[in-house]
């Protein structure tokens, strides 16, 4: 059996950075069984051989766990998991904040865990004048202590060597839990007793005390300022929003032309008509249509991790918390909600910054209502058909279509807020909704750590959403292509059209005929596809000159004003693309929540589309 080492420590002590440094690219991110808490496993390798397995446990303050993340770590440590306990525990301490880290150290020591201590952030502590009697420190805690710096890599080879020597020694951990330990861990005398030991230990081993962190204090003066603080927050959020749209677009264009090129190669070299159509129209364009969002996902996570490592994320939550709480969401939900305007998938993935699982769930459920960028082509073509390109009330700088687009954004965002209020009232409270958090000192983010995180997020998206997207792309292609007549595809005769006709009566109150319901089928894969699907049912050649004008005229002539407005409103609420469902399923670990999300968005879409058509018909 491989030698197993678990990293334990408080949040924000640089534990994950140390983990990334120790294991490099040899790591795997999965969930702990039954819950959506990330479990990171990695390997220390030598000459390409994996020799030591390393588990990065979620940060924990003490063995008296309150949040789900902490419970996972506690269950692992107290062997409530079926999983094998680690052979050795590396306790990561923060040298710039010894007091905070030592509580857990004493607890683990007293219970008899085989420990090695990594005294992290030692370089930073040195800079602030901190000197410590390491020999005495190590003696008092009864464990080998290695000063490390996850950012510079100092001390890491010492740590690895130590782990390797420990590997040879068979130590069977014997952990003794006091009776009714849960009550003991939570009693004031017990906590007070450990605090006293911690205080006297620090006094004993400190040779030269740490200078206070005046830098963070000065920065906070500005960053948490009632006026400047809010301004900085909004500038950062706008910057993030802009970045997702503008920086990602050249990369997206590159991916798009890559897929176009691939599709061309297939068209040239594959002789069989059916196979060529499957590969080019089905798989490459279907999967490609979703993969173009990969750059946005990776850039967003780069941005979020940067703010997290900098220490800003907690400050943003502090500033926004009381406002966001009024609508049932925590302060940290600002980031996922805003980023979902680019794409719901990174938005849902980034809800991991929210610690409370109920609040995280609410955020994930309302995210699909915000206007993602895949809706833009649909909005553009429908607004083009419905609204004349004229100035608003004689003001030449505001045009009606722009105003309509803005109104659709607002409609999406406001419905997200209202729906979150409804969920807040109706979902049962599981754990207390806590703000309670430490604001960490500011630190300069390290590029290599950011890159590892970004890479992992990209991998998760490809792995978890990729399979479903592939299957759905093939199914949709099949429905749109078959049955063929004399080797030719007739869309009107396809299975998709049959399904569209079948559902036509259901959608008649919205004014959708079978052509619209048929065009809605491929939009399950990716929303923007509905534009080309509509052009197919209207038999208009896409990509020709004046395509948009022809489309606009044909749409109004064929479907009428009321139905088009209904269709526009329909797209504000539904349908969600399949990747959103796939990611929500992964993040909540059940089909229940994707089902809830699908049902409520469909209901809203149906009702408001019906209402919109009614109003339009009354008015005209």
């Amino acid at each position: 059996m491989t030698f197993r080492v678990a990293l334990v420590g408080m949040p924000n002590v640089g534990k994950t950075a140390l983990f990334n440094k120790l294991t490099g690219s040899f790591q795997r991110v999965a969930n702990f069984p039954g819950v959506t808490v990330e479990k990171k496993t990695g390997w220390i390798s030598e000459h390409g051989q994996r020799i030591i397995e390393v588990i990065d446990l979620p940060g924990i303050y003490s063995l008296d766990a309150t949040t789900l993340d902490e419970k996972v770590t506690k269950d692992f440590l107290l062997q409530k998991e079926k999983e094998r306990l680690a052979d050795l525990f590396v306790l990561v301490l923060d040298a710039t904040n010894l007091d905070k880290s030592l509580f857990l150290a004493y607890q683990l020591k007293e219970l008899g865990y085989p420990l090695v201590i990594a005294l992290n952030l030692m370089d930073e502590a040195h800079k602030r004048g901190f000197e410590i009697d390491l020999a005495k420190f190590s003696q008092e805690l009864g464990a080998v202590i290695i000063p490390t710096s996850a950012s510079t890599g100092a001390g890491l080879s010492d740590l690895k060597n130590l782990l390797k020597t420990k590997m040879g020694q068979e130590v069977i951990p014997s952990i003794e839990l006091p009776q009714n330990y849960q009550k003991v861990f939570r009693s004031p005398p017990y906590v007070n007793g450990i605090f006293k030991k911690v205080d006297s230990l620090i006094k004993d081993v400190t040779l030269s005390p740490l200078r206070p962190d005046t830098f963070s204090e000065r920065v906070d003066h500005l960053v948490l300022h009632p006026v400047w603080g809010i301004l900085i927050l909004f500038l950062l959020l706008i910057l993030m929003f802009q970045t997702l749209f503008t920086w990602a677009s050249p990369l997206q264009d590159m991916l798009e032309s890559g897929f176009a090129f691939l599709s061309e190669i297939v068209s040239t070299y594959v002789q069989n008509d059916l196979l060529r159509s499957l590969l080019a129209d089905g798989i490459i364009s279907g999967v490609g249509g979703v993969l173009v969002f990969l750059p946005q996902i990776m850039i967003l996570f780069l941005f979020i991790q940067f703010l997290e490592d900098l220490g800003y994320l907690g400050r943003a939550a502090f500033l926004m918390d009381s406002f966001m709480r009024k609508i049932g969401l925590p302060g940290k939900a600002v980031i996922p909600l805003l980023s979902s305007h680019a794409c719901a998938i990174p938005g849902i993935l980034s809800t991991r910054v929210i610690d409370n699982h109920r609040e995280r769930l609410i955020t994930m459920l309302v995210i699909p209502l915000t206007t993602c960028s895949a809706r833009l082509p649909v909005y553009a073509i429908l607004i083009g058909a419905l609204i004349p390109n004229e100035p608003f009330m004689g003001m030449s700088w505001i045009k009606l279509p722009g105003l309509a687009l803005f109104a659709l954004y607002v409609l999406g965002f406001v419905s997200a807020l209202i729906v979150s209020l409804v969920f807040k009232k109706s979902l049962p409270q599981s754990s207390p909704s806590m703000l309670l958090m430490e604001l960490p000192p500011y630190r300069i983010p390290k590029w290599n750590n950011l890159l590892v995180v970004m890479q992992n997020k990209g991998k998760i998206f490809l792995k978890k959403a990729g399979g479903i997207i592939l299957i759905v792309s093939i199914v949709i292609w099949f429905l749109m292509t078959f049955p063929q007549q004399g080797g030719e595809t007739q869309l009107e005769q396809s299975y998709a059209a049959h399904i569209g006709r079948f559902f036509e009566p259901v959608f008649r109150p919205l004014g959708f005929d079978w052509r619209i319901t048929t065009a809605l089928i491929p939009s399950i894969g990716a929303r923007e596809v509905v534009v080309s699907a509509l052009s197919m049912v209207l038999s208009i050649q896409e990509g020709t000159e004046g395509f948009e004008t022809t489309m606009s005229e044909a749409l109004v002539a064929q479907f009428g004003l009321g139905s088009l407005v209904a269709l526009l409103i329909w797209f504000v609420f539904a349908p969600q693309c399949i990747s959103t469902f796939a990611v929500l399923k992964r993040e909540t670990n059940s089909w229940r929540w994707p089902l809830v999300m699908g049902t409520y968005t469909l209901a809203l879409a149906y009702f408001f589309a019906w209402l919109a058509r009614l109003l339009v018909n009354l008015w005209s």
């Binding site: 904040n97 939570r186 502090f318 406002f323």
Partner: protein
């Protein structure tokens, strides 16, 4: 008084969670206690968030901890002379 009623930037002594406290503490209370909100400790309210005057930022055991109003209401304190 409780932390949310305490004056800014004054040294405060925590009165909650004494050694002879035999109640079963809630998750939230336990978390507060583990952060150092424990009878006899000295703390200081350093900042209040804009707009709604909450959350509060409190210095405890050398750290800056953010508390919502509900959380601050769980800890009683008195101003040090």
């Amino acid at each position: 008084m409780t932390i949310n009623e305490a004056p800014l930037n004054k040294k405060l002594t925590v009165l909650s969670f004494t050694d002879d406290d035999v109640r079963n503490l809630s998750d939230l209370e336990a978390r507060l206690m583990h952060l150092g909100f424990l009878a006899g400790h000295t703390i200081r309210v350093t900042r209040k968030a804009p707009l709604f005057k909450e959350p509060l930022l409190v210095e405890v055991r050398g750290r800056q901890v953010a508390l919502s109003r509900e959380e601050a209401m769980l800890v009683s304190v008195e101003v040090q002379e």
